[in-house]
């Protein structure tokens, strides 16, 4: 683990152009200190996912660079796990095989990996579902499995791309609480992408606002000084939360309106 002051991930002057014509990001910069939870909010279509894919090393930026614990990122970001918006469990593997996947890819023996996966299934409340196939689980349960799949590899950085967008409100709140618990126990750096300001503030230490696309960039960063551990059920009633919400919404509002006008 790195010292707490060193940024776990730095995005410097990231510009990304698709197909030589559409510039999704322009000079976007962001850094996350080790162990912090950073949310990135922005209107739909502002290049949030592009930014995350660049941080993951799945895309290499047209200009600018990504630094991971001070080192320039080339190729896939090996210290990061990625939780996708869509279902990313392999449908032809059972839940425990899916959770064990990251360990198997790293060369662990199958029985050892499966045993470790079973432990994680218990932790995320999927005891007894290990031998089910993903299609047999509910949306929320699939997300729990995806969380276990990410965290089992003991990543230093977790990248999350609107992971709970498809869930109903109450399931989503439970999942958010569970993410906070997992994060609180292991202390990774989290980069969490969302278009919902409520979620962004409730979870994060820092909320970064991305401007409307095209040519999006980070226009503001707000520190969220709500105390931890947080109780997400009641946090929306906290006056400090409401104050932060009004302040950040002031920035985001403009961008959302711009994204409407752009349609």
């Amino acid at each position: 683990m790195a010292s707490p002051s060193q940024p776990a991930i730095e995005l410097r002057g990231i510009t990304h152009t698709f197909g030589g014509s559409f510039t999704a990001l322009k000079e976007a910069g962001l850094e996350a200190t080790a162990g912090s939870f950073v949310s990135v909010v922005g209107p739909s279509g502002c290049g949030k996912s592009t930014l995350l894919n660049i941080a993951a090393g799945l895309l290499s930026p047209s200009q600018g660079e990504v630094r991971v614990f001070g080192q320039r990122l080339e190729g896939i970001n090996r210290r990061a796990a990625y939780m996708f918006q869509q279902d990313a469990l392999l449908p032809w593997k059972t839940v425990r095989e899916n959770v064990a996947l990251g360990l198997v890819f790293r060369g662990k023996e199958m029985p050892v990996a499966l045993r470790e996966a079973d432990g994680w299934l218990t932790r995320v409340g999927l005891d007894g579902f290990g031998n089910s196939f993903p299609y047999q689980l509910s949306g929320g349960m699939r997300k729990r499995a995806a969380m276990a799949q990410c965290w089992i590899t003991a990543p230093d950085i977790v990248l999350m791309d609107e992971p709970f967008a498809a869930l109903d409100v109450h399931t989503r709140m439970r999942m958010q609480q569970e993410v906070l618990e997992l994060w609180g126990n292991a202390g990774q750096t989290v980069l969490f992408i969302t278009h919902e300001l409520e979620e962004a503030i409730a979870l994060a230490d820092v909320v970064a606002v991305l401007s409307a696309g095209p040519e999006s960039r980070i226009i503001a960063e707000h520190r969220v000084d709500l105390e931890r551990p947080r109780n997400l059920v009641d946090i929306r009633l906290d006056p400090r939360y409401q104050e932060l919400y009004r302040k950040i919404w002031g920035d985001l509002r403009e961008e959302v309106l711009k994204s409407f006008a752009g349609r």
Binding site: A56, I76, F84, A88, L90, W92, V104, F133, Y135
Partner: protein, 251 residues
């Protein structure tokens, strides 16, 4: 019940038509004669050697064709540039009517089983190849990205993601290619062989023995159906991770 009724009615009409003199027995034979011939073949055991040869040829053609088809399908799907270069040649090769190759293969590989196997391979290969190619290209990119983020190497990606994902495509082609492998092999035997069901049919035809021709056809149909049922069970097991959709077409 209705399915059975249709079969019985058709065979009954055939038998009755011949007995009533509406159909010429010389050209159309009779179900009862065909049945008797099949019984004779089974009793004397003469059919087994022929059937064994045909099945061995078809199995070899099928296995070699599938192996080459899957390998090539993968290679081209993973190497788009190579695919672009080879594309016109693949199209030309596939446009060729395979039957005209049979005499050439006879010259190249002789009258034994390998000329038939080669003909079968050319048929099976293209069906499997195109389906594999398509299957690999249509893999959900999220699954690929997720596996890469979890640390999959190129080989692990193929084994855990691409191959299983292409499997349902490959399977849909197996049903067709088994039938085609049989057809190709029988055509090969028909044109020149000393053994096999196709040879049997050609012999019967040579002496205007329509009963023998029909009996040979019945044997082939039964074998293809039996093998198809086997593939179905294998498919059901290998694709057990898929939610079952009620199948309304065949049951």
């Amino acid at each position: 019940m209705w399915q059975l009724a249709v079969g019985v009615a058709a065979l009954g009409a055939w038998e009755g038509g011949v007995r009533a003199g509406l159909l010429d027995q010389f050209f159309f034979s009779r179900p009862s004669d065909i049945g008797a011939r099949l019984g004779e073949w089974l009793r004397s055991g003469s059919i087994w050697a022929h059937l064994g040869t045909t099945l061995a040829e078809a199995a070899l053609a099928f296995l070699i064709g599938v192996a080459l088809g899957v390998a090539m399908g993968f290679a081209l799907a993973r190497m788009p540039r190579l695919a672009a270069v080879l594309d016109p040649y693949i199209r030309i090769a596939n446009a060729l009517p395979r039957v005209v190759l049979a005499p050439i293969f006879l010259l190249w590989f002789g009258l034994g089983i390998w000329s038939k196997v080669a003909l079968g391979v050319t048929v099976v290969f293209f069906i499997v190849f195109f389906n594999t190619w398509q299957g690999v290209r249509e893999v959900d990119p999220v699954l690929v990205n997720n596996a890469r983020m979890l640390g999959a190497s190129e080989r692990q990606l193929t084994r855990h993601v691409l191959l299983p994902s292409a499997l349902s495509w490959i399977f849909s082609s197996l049903h067709i290619s088994i039938g085609f492998a049989m057809i190709a092999v029988v055509v090969g035997e028909y044109l020149g062989a000393s053994r096999g069901v196709g040879y049997l049919i050609a012999q019967a035809e040579g002496v205007f023995d329509t009963t023998g021709v029909f009996a040979g056809m019945a044997v082939l149909a039964a074998v293809v159906l039996a093998v198809g049922a086997g593939v179905n069970r294998l498919e059901l097991w290998l694709l057990r991770w898929k939610p079952r959709v009620p199948d309304s077409t065949y049951q």
